[in-house]
C-alpha cells in the first residue's frame, strides 16, 4: 500500500489547554502565609519595688530540661494543662466576677483579672515542648473568651460567633456588620479575661 505522510495535528487549541491549566493552578494554589503565636515581651524596667501578688493568684507552670511539666508543684501531662488552666482562671474565689462559672474555691485564684500564669522553662527545655505549652495556655484563654463571646454576642447581635471568629471577622474586609460594635465586644472580652502570662527568666 502507498505510504502516506502523517497528517499534521492542529495545534490551535494548545493555547486553550494551556490557559485551562493555568487557571486551574491559579485557583487551587494557596500562597503560603506565615502564622504563629504572637507574644509581647516585657520591657526592661529598673523598678525595684516588688508588686505583691498572693500565692493563690499565681499558677506556676514549670517545664524542666527533660520536657517534664510541673504545674503547681505536681507532675502533669501536657494534654491536661488546658483544663487545669481554665479551672484556675475561671475560679472566681472572691466572687467579684459575675460572668465566671468556676468552682469559687477560696484557695485558688480570686478573679480572672488577678489570676496570673507564670511560665518557667530551663535552658535545656526543647522548643517543641515550649511551643506546646504556650499553645495550651493560649488555648485556655481562648476557651474562656469563646464561651464569653457566645454569651455576649447573643445580647449584642453577633449570634453564634465565638471570640476567635469575632477577631477574624473584625480583620476581614468583607465582613458585613457593625465593626465598631464588634470591636467594643472584643475589647470588653479582652478586659474580662485579660491574658496575664508572665515568663520567668
Amino acid at each position: 500500500m502507498a505510504k502516506r505522510s502523517a497528517p499534521e495535528v492542529n495545534a490551535g487549541s494548545m493555547a486553550d489547554i494551556a490557559f485551562l491549566l493555568l487557571i486551574f493552578f491559579l485557583v487551587t494554589t494557596t500562597i503560603e502565609k506565615d502564622s504563629g503565636i504572637n507574644r509581647k515581651l516585657p520591657p526592661i524596667e529598673e523598678t525595684e519595688e516588688d508588686v505583691i501578688i498572693k500565692q493563690k493568684n499565681i499558677f506556676t507552670v514549670l517545664l524542666n530540661g527533660k520536657d517534664q511539666l510541673l504545674v503547681e508543684d505536681e507532675l502533669m501531662e501536657i494534654k491536661d494543662l488546658r483544663a487545669a488552666a481554665v479551672e484556675f482562671l475561671d475560679n472566681n474565689g472572691d466572687q467579684s466576677c459575675t460572668y465566671c462559672k468556676g468552682a469559687k474555691d477560696t484557695s485558688s485564684s480570686d478573679n480572672p483579672d488577678k489570676a496570673i500564669i507564670s511560665l518557667k522553662n530551663e535552658r535545656e527545655t526543647s522548643y517543641a515542648a515550649y511551643i506546646s505549652v504556650q499553645n495550651e495556655l493560649v488555648a485556655a484563654y481562648n476557651v474562656l473568651r469563646n464561651k464569653r463571646a457566645l454569651e455576649l454576642g447573643s445580647q449584642k447581635g453577633f449570634l453564634d460567633m465565638n471570640f476567635v471568629q469575632m477577631q477574624k471577622n473584625y480583620k476581614d474586609a468583607r465582613f458585613v456588620g457593625n465593626k465598631t460594635k464588634l470591636k467594643e465586644v472584643i475589647d470588653q472580652i479582652k478586659v474580662e479575661y485579660p491574658q496575664k502570662l508572665s515568663e520567668v527568666q
Binding site: 502507498a2 505510504k3 502516506r4 505522510s5 502523517a6 499534521e8 495535528v9 495545534a11 494548545m14 493555547a15 489547554i17 494551556a18 491549566l21 493555568l22 493552578f25 491559579l26 494554589t29 500562597i31 503560603e32 502565609k33 506565615d34 502564622s35 504563629g36 503565636i37 504572637n38 507574644r39 509581647k40 515581651l41 516585657p42 520591657p43 526592661i44 520536657d67 501536657i78 494534654k79 522553662n121 530551663e122 535552658r123 535545656e124 527545655t125 526543647s126 522548643y127 517543641a128 515542648a129 515550649y130 511551643i131 506546646s132 504556650q134 499553645n135 495550651e136 493560649v138 488555648a139 481562648n142 527568666q201
Partner: protein
C-alpha cells in the same frame, strides 16, 4: 502512471513547533504559581513546630525574621549546637541588637513601633538560645514577637 507514483521521500514530516511557546508558558506559569518566595537561604535546619492557636502574621506591618537551629548538612564546621541565622549568615548573639537596629533604620519612621520579630526556630533547638535572643530583643526594645509555627495538633510536637 502517476496514480501509483511513489511519495517523494517517505521521511518523517517535520513536527510543528507552533505549540512550543504554549508549553513553555505553561511551565512558566506553573512555577510562578507554585513557588514560594524565600527571602533567605537557610544554613540551618528549620523544621517548625506546630500549634493550633495561631494567628496569621500580618504582612501589613513590617516583619523581621530571626532563624535558629542546628547547622544543616554541609555546614557541619559550624558545630552541632543550635545557631542563630540573620539574613544570609550565621550570627552571634551580640549581633541581634545591631540587626534589629539595621532593620529599623530601613523602615519608615511611623512603622517602627509596629515591627514584629518573627522567630523561626527549629523544634529541636533548646530554649537556652531562644531565651538569650528574647533577652537581646528586650534590650533593644523590640517587644512584639511571633513564634512562627505550622498549623496542626500541638501534641504531635513531642513525638
Amino acid at each position: 502512471m502517476s496514480k501509483f507514483k511513489k511519495k517523494t521521500d517517505g521521511g518523517l514530516p517535520a513536527i510543528s513547533t507552533a505549540s512550543l511557546p504554549d508549553i513553555v508558558f505553561m511551565l512558566l506559569f506553573f512555577f510562578m504559581v507554585a513557588t514560594v518566595m524565600r527571602e533567605n537561604s537557610l544554613k540551618i535546619k528549620n523544621a517548625l513546630p506546630v500549634a493550633n492557636q495561631v494567628e496569621k502574621l500580618d504582612k501589613k506591618n513590617p516583619v523581621s525574621y530571626i532563624y535558629m537551629g542546628k547547622p544543616s548538612d554541609g555546614f557541619e564546621k559550624y558545630g552541632t549546637e543550635s545557631r542563630i541565622q540573620l539574613n544570609d549568615q550565621f550570627a552571634e548573639l551580640s549581633e541581634v541588637g545591631a540587626f534589629i537596629s539595621a532593620e529599623r533604620a530601613a523602615l519608615r519612621e511611623e512603622l517602627i513601633p509596629f515591627l514584629t520579630v518573627a522567630l523561626k526556630v527549629d523544634k529541636e533547638a533548646n530554649m537556652g538560645i531562644v531565651g538569650d535572643v528574647k533577652q537581646e530583643l528586650r534590650k533593644v526594645n523590640a517587644l512584639k514577637i511571633n513564634y512562627t509555627t505550622g498549623v496542626g495538633d500541638a501534641m504531635k510536637n513531642m513525638e
